[in-house]
């Protein structure tokens, strides 16, 4: 029921938005209220979005044609204080795939500067660092691959974390992030998307839901991430450290017969700057974890050969004792119609695991309020178990309409 009402609402919003965009007789004033004044008290923002993503092939282990069918409202409230800021941001949605009303508190944090050169942000927040484009070496903050693969907006790739982030801006910048309780990725559990289980040697889905043993002891299951960074003449240098737990349940407890999050320690570095007429980035990281240590390496290049067309290229390596995984990515972004239309294609291709993942997308801004997107998440490859090919029955085509206020 929800899935069809989501589709209907999406179509309704699209029609409403298009007719609004076509209203010619806006008066000549700017419709402005706070051009001249600082906002005081709480400022409210938000959007309503309808989204549906249809499987492009049926999934024999999941009796569900949609990977996404939902209508959500996001509300954000922020208040600027004398020294600092409070931000609250939350989503509620009717979910037609997991059936029911859902919610997600994405931000609830307090930011304050301490003295001249220290910033503290404490509470639920979105955290990102590193130089990769959809490839992560030193960013061990939680990601939501379920949202990303199933057709939600890019912003949902980043999952919130409860954390304290202390930043010191001296001759080098030092960021220290403490997560009192380990925060893993929102990994595939089999509820919305099927995946390959090495234990079952088959693609599986819920039930049973993948249910690993959580790392939830305070404070022994906490995590700490550190970054040292400095920009010299436009060249950004950074060193990273992390101690915590694997973001995916890659371990297995034979006794409990359940998956686990093994310990993970990471050391890494990155450099990014302008070169060769574009942006060049190189990043590396050593992951010390179970079942095997890993060395990760990334080299990327992005350039704009002609106006409004941007090309990004990345080579990424995950090296283990007995196996190397090579990945090539390409991103084409083309902005048209005075940047109201953005056409993009992101391609992951891995020769070593013979798999690929394509993300074609068209996004159109009907107006400052209304945006529509169509696109897909297309997985394929030769092997049943490959990194991307295991997801092939989750391939989907999506439509999203968002009205912002």
């Amino acid at each position: 029921m929800i899935r069809y009402s989501s589709l209907l609402l999406a179509l309704f919003l699209a029609t409403a938005g298009i007719s609004q965009a076509q209203e010619a007789d806006w008066d000549d004033d700017w419709g402005d209220d706070d051009w001249g004044t600082e906002p005081e008290g709480w400022a409210w923002y938000g959007f309503i979005e309808s989204a549906a993503a249809v499987r492009t092939r049926s999934d024999p282990v999941l009796n569900e044609d949609f990977t996404l069918a939902e209508t959500r409202v996001q509300l954000e409230a922020s208040r600027t204080l004398d020294r600092g800021k409070i931000t609250l941001k939350g989503d509620v949605w009717l979910d037609g795939v997991e059936d029911g009303a859902k919610s997600d508190l994405r931000e609830a944090n307090f930011y304050t500067p301490i003295g001249d050169s220290v910033d503290l942000q404490i509470g639920r927040q979105i955290l990102t660092w590193g130089t990769g484009d959809l490839v992560f070496l030193n960013d061990l903050f939680p990601k939501d691959f379920v949202s990303f693969f199933s057709g939600r907006d890019d912003e949902y790739l980043k999952a919130p974390a409860d954390a304290a982030k202390l930043s010191w801006y001296g001759s080098i910048a030092v960021d220290v992030v403490w997560l009192p309780i380990a925060t893993p990725d929102r990994y595939l559990t089999g509820e919305r998307l099927s995946y390959y289980s090495p234990r079952a040697e088959a693609r599986v889905a819920a039930p049973p839901r993948l249910d690993p043993i959580d790392r939830d002891d305070f404070p022994s299951d906490g995590e700490v991430a550190i970054r040292l960074s400095k920009t010299i003449d436009g060249i950004e240098l950074a060193g990273y450290g992390f101690t915590g737990f694997n973001k995916q349940p890659t371990g297995y407890d034979e006794q409990a017969q359940r998956a686990t999050f093994p310990r993970l320690n990471v050391l890494g570095a990155s450099v990014r700057g302008t070169a060769l007429g574009g942006i060049v980035n190189v990043e590396t990281a050593i992951h010390e974890t179970e079942p095997e240590d890993q060395w990760r390496f990334l080299a990327g290049y992005e350039h704009s050969p002609i106006g409004d067309l941007t090309l990004g290229w990345q080579y990424y390596l995950e090296s283990e004792d007995d196996e190397d995984r090579h990945l090539l990515t390409n991103r084409i972004t083309w902005q048209l119609l005075q940047q109201d239309l953005t056409a993009s294609l992101f391609t992951f291709y891995s020769a070593s695991d013979e798999g690929w993942y394509l993300l074609p997308r068209l996004t159109y801004r009907f107006s400052d309020q209304l945006t529509g997107s169509v696109g897909g998440n297309l997985f394929g490859g030769d092997e049943i178990s490959g990194f991307y090919s295991q997801l092939e029955n989750n391939s989907n085509a999506f439509l999203r309409i968002r009205y912002q206020f």
Partner: protein
């Protein structure tokens, strides 16, 4: 006789004063240099609120942002911080530029929903600035060395400069003409032409105010004469020489814009 002498003395003084105030310039390069300084390098630093009304047929969009600028060197490198407040989908987005004359700028873009600091390549500076009819280059200035400049007319109000690109393949225009106000040295109108002489793009300064002693274009209109679309940019709450510290032009300000310098009062 005395009367006549007095008159000529007065006229002489008058002439001298006026020639001091607005000596007629004859060197095209000096004129464009002074015009460039007047429009992009007023004061050591500056702050302004800006809003854009983007009109394409029936479609109207708006942008609103605060702009902080600091000169590294007059007529040379500059630092910019642009903090967007409207519309909703780009609110909180922050754009930072290290403008480098004669080489590629360094540009960063902060996307708050992902807490992501992106580095962006500055390949073509003649692409739309945030979906408006202004190009990046119109906002931060076009490198004077990219064109040759010729003074083709001096009238009572304006110097008229004809500029021709040194590398015609790098730009969409064949030439452009600029009307520079002789008093303020502000470029008041610029018209871009195609090979066939057709004017297809026009910038006009429609309001000028003197702010902290610097004549400032506070309303600028950029028109696309092919499509009929145009963008009006208004600047308000502008101030110069406010003593912006260097360290606000940093990654820290992308995540947490420096509020004390962005206040509109």
């Amino acid at each position: 006789m005395t009367h006549r002498l007095l008159l000529s003395v007065i006229a002489g003084i008058g002439l001298m004063t006026s020639s001091i105030a607005m000596a007629q310039l004859t060197d095209a390069n000096e004129i464009v240099e002074r015009a460039n300084n007047a429009s992009y390098y007023a004061g050591e630093d500056g702050r302004s609120a800006a809003r854009m009304l983007i009109v394409d047929g029936d479609n109207q969009q708006q942008r609103q942002f605060m702009l902080l600028r600091k000169d590294v060197e007059d007529g040379g490198d500059q630092r910019y911080l642009v903090v967007f407040s409207r519309p909703a989908d780009i609110r909180g987005t922050v754009f930072r530029v290290e403008k480098k004359v004669g080489q590629a700028d360094d540009r960063w873009l902060y996307l708050p929903a992902l807490d992501l600091v992106r580095r962006i390549s500055s390949g073509d500076k003649r692409t739309s600035f945030v979906g408006s009819h202004f190009f990046y280059e119109d906002i931060s200035g076009r490198d004077l060395a990219e064109d040759t400049h010729e003074l083709i007319e001096t009238n009572a109000d304006y110097y008229v400069i004809e500029s021709t690109p040194r590398d015609p393949g790098s730009v969409e225009f064949a030439a452009f003409q600029t009307w520079i106000d002789r008093d303020t040295m502000l470029p008041m109108r610029t018209e871009y032409r195609r090979d066939n002489g057709e004017i297809y793009r026009r910038m006009e300064v429609t309001e000028v105010e003197v702010i902290d002693g610097y004549p400032t274009g506070t309303e600028v209109r950029m028109s696309d004469l092919d499509s009929g679309g145009y963008t009006i940019t208004q600047f308000a709450f502008s101030e110069y020489d406010i003593g912006l510290p260097d360290n606000i032009f940093s990654e820290r300000s992308l995540r947490n814009p420096p509020r004390e310098w962005l206040r509109r009062d």
